[in-house]
């Protein structure tokens, strides 16, 4: 119920911010394109049988030597870039979204426990969070990824690439959720409706789930929208560094890396177009997330 009220009020506010509306339009377009990639992409870039090596490194259609069936050109293996970008964006988005959801779940749980327990439980959990914050997210992701590679043998690595990637990005990002939720939980614990619930004899667990949690997670959704952008970039970075998605199942980051080698020999499109796609995606998510954060900020009301 509350969400529908918020949604209509939000919709009105959205209509007054052209920037946010544009960002939303771009994002929705990209989402549709990547979700229905098989529909929009003339070629399946992961299906090796459809690749034609001789079409490798074809320039974009408006350049000399370009061909109509490869609008944005091809990479060295003959993969149509447009198709590769669509499929790659799918993976980037999937990894980004799932890892953020995982981050959120872990962060919210830890934040709630810390915020409602107080005492040494709170202190321990928050010091763990602080310790992790001292390390850059990429480094954490690298460490976890590296550890996984050491443990898992090469054959299984291919199929486990996505889960490990998601896991490492998720684990590097939970801290901000934990902190936000903890702060909100501490505020809510002081409110009279929590006291009223205590008077009924509700134990810690039910108090938390029924009363504190629904009122503490508001800030989390705004964090998440911005975090999706960060997660996508982290994944791209890891893939670019060679420790993310394998080249046979490329995400945008892998595509950029792939094309990197050809950047200076004149076949710039192999790297630049995926790069543009990544920038567009991240930009749209960020603009939308910023607008959402400002709109929902009670202090600015």
């Amino acid at each position: 119920m509350i969400r529908s009220v918020l949604a209509s009020d939000l919709a009105w506010r959205l209509s007054r911010s052209p920037g946010a509306m544009l960002a939303l339009a771009v994002l929705v377009t990209l989402l549709i394109l990547s979700l229905f990639a098989p529909v929009f992409a003339p070629q399946n870039p992961f299906d090796l049988a459809t690749l034609d090596l001789f079409s490798g490194l074809t320039p974009p259609v408006w350049r000399e030597g370009g061909r109509a069936e490869y609008v944005l050109g091809t990479d060295e293996q003959g993969r149509d870039l447009w198709s590769a970008i669509l499929y790659g964006m799918r993976i980037s988005l999937a990894v980004g979204l799932v890892s953020v959801v995982l981050s959120m779940v872990v962060g919210v749980a830890i934040g709630l426990i810390a915020g409602t327990s107080g005492g040494w439980v709170d202190t321990v959990l928050m010091r763990v969070a602080d310790a992790q914050l001292a390390l850059p997210a990429i480094l954490v992701a690298l460490l976890i990824d590296g550890a996984a590679r050491a443990v898992v043998d090469v054959a299984a690595q291919q199929s486990l690439a996505i889960p490990v990637l998601i896991f490492s990005i998720a684990l590097s990002g939970w801290v901000q959720y934990a902190r936000a939720v903890r702060a909100a939980a501490m505020v809510e614990m002081r409110r009279d409706y929590v006291s009223a619930a205590r008077l009924l004899g509700l134990g810690r667990a039910r108090l938390l789930i029924r009363h504190v949690m629904p009122n503490s997670i508001g800030a989390v959704f705004v964090l998440a929208t911005v975090h999706v952008a960060a997660a996508v970039v982290t994944e791209a970075t890891l893939s670019f560094l060679g420790v993310g998605m394998p080249p046979t199942v490329p995400s945008l980051g892998t595509l950029i890396r792939n094309g990197y080698d050809f950047l200076f020999s004149g076949e710039w499109w192999v790297s630049i177009f995926p790069g543009c796609a990544l920038v567009l995606l991240v930009f749209a998510v960020n603009v939308l997330g910023d607008w959402l954060r400002d709109t929902l900020n009670p202090r600015l009301q």
């Binding site: 119920m1 509350i2 409110r191 009279d192 409706y193 006291s195 009223a196 619930a197 205590r198 008077l199 009924l200 004899g201 509700l202 134990g203 029924r210 009363h211 629904p214 009122n215």
Partner: protein, 319 residues
């Protein structure tokens, strides 16, 4: 029904300091009667309310229900004990969970106290409860923010009654309400007491309201009771200089020029004055007042005053 015996609540502050929010409070509340605890900020009245409810653990003394001591923390009390004592808070905005419908909110005590077993069973009872507090036909699927302040307070009252308590603690229930709504809610509170023979502990800083609802009054200052007794008597003939000053300071609608004012402000509870806590502001202060803390002692059969000069001031005490 309810007795407070030498109840004290002290908070540690920092490494060494301590804040005595409540010191040595002994009071009695009876069925069908209203015990009011009044005072200004920092006097400890809200702390007393929370200690009775079990939301704060006292550092000394105890609370007795039907002559049996209650566990200090509400979580460790029995279901009967929790059912017996309920509370209505000051701010109707934060007293209701904004994410739960009023059906859930008012039904929750019924479910927790075992009066019904399912939400479906609770629904007609919730409707009846809301009708009784002046919200007949309210849409149960609505949320708190869809109601006005006065209506929200009524919902809180319905919630407090839902578990069928015997004693209700009212913590400034009308302070956050508009004047015209305040009168409605006060009348409601009194009617409910008559109908159900409830005992009330009524916390307030507004002496006009207290005069209207209270049978017994305890006046608090800096965590201690300075005067207790029947409400009428204390309001008409106060015996403690602070009570007198408080009554004199209330702006009244029949204003006539200036009245005796006391200077200064309530001192910092972290650094209470030596001896009688009121002595720096007291118009009747004597050297002895600085030396010793006056005890709350009986002045007449029903009244107690914590003042060294209680007998000498303001004429002969009457019962």
């Amino acid at each position: 029904m309810l007795e407070l015996e030498a109840l004290s609540v002290t908070y540690p502050v920092g490494r060494r300091a301590r804040l005595a929010a409540l010191s040595d409070l002994s009071l009695t509340a009876r069925a069908g009667q209203t015990l009011a605890i009044v005072g200004e900020s920092g006097c400890g009245k809200s702390t007393a309310a929370r200690a009775i409810a079990g939301l704060e653990e006292p550092s000394g003394g105890r609370v007795l229900l039907d002559n049996r001591p209650l566990a200090p923390a509400v979580e460790r009390r029995s279901r009967e004990e929790r059912q017996a004592i309920q509370m209505v808070f000051q701010d109707p905005m934060s007293s209701l969970n904004p994410r739960r419908s009023i059906l859930h909110t008012v039904a929750e005590p019924m479910l927790e106290m075992g009066l019904v077993r399912t939400l479906g069973q609770a629904r007609p009872l919730v409707e009846a409860a809301l009708a009784e507090v002046g919200l007949p036909g309210a849409d149960l699927s609505r949320y708190p923010h869809q109601f006005s302040g006065g209506q929200r307070q009524r919902i809180c009252i319905a919630r407090a009654l839902a578990g069928e308590p015997r004693l209700i603690i009212w913590d400034e229930p009308t302070s956050a309400l508009d004047v015209s709504v305040q009168a409605q809610v006060l009348n409601l509170i009194q009617r409910l007491q008559r109908d159900r023979d409830l005992a009330y502990v009524f916390i307030s800083h507004d002496l006009g309201v207290v005069d209207h609802v209270a049978d017994e009054v305890a006046v608090m200052y800096l965590g201690r009771a300075v005067e207790t007794g029947p409400a009428r008597q204390i309001m008409r003939a106060p015996r403690h200089p602070y009570t007198r000053a408080l009554l004199a300071a209330i702006p009244s609608l029949a204003a006539t020029g200036s009245r005796a004012r006391i200077g200064g402000e309530v001192p910092n509870p972290m650094a209470p004055p030596a001896g009688c806590p009121f002595h720096p502001r007291c118009p009747e202060v004597r050297p002895a007042c600085r030396a010793a803390l006056p005890e709350l002692r009986p002045l007449t059969e029903s009244r107690r005053v914590a003042c060294l000069r209680a007998e000498d001031l303001y004429g002969e005490p009457t019962t």
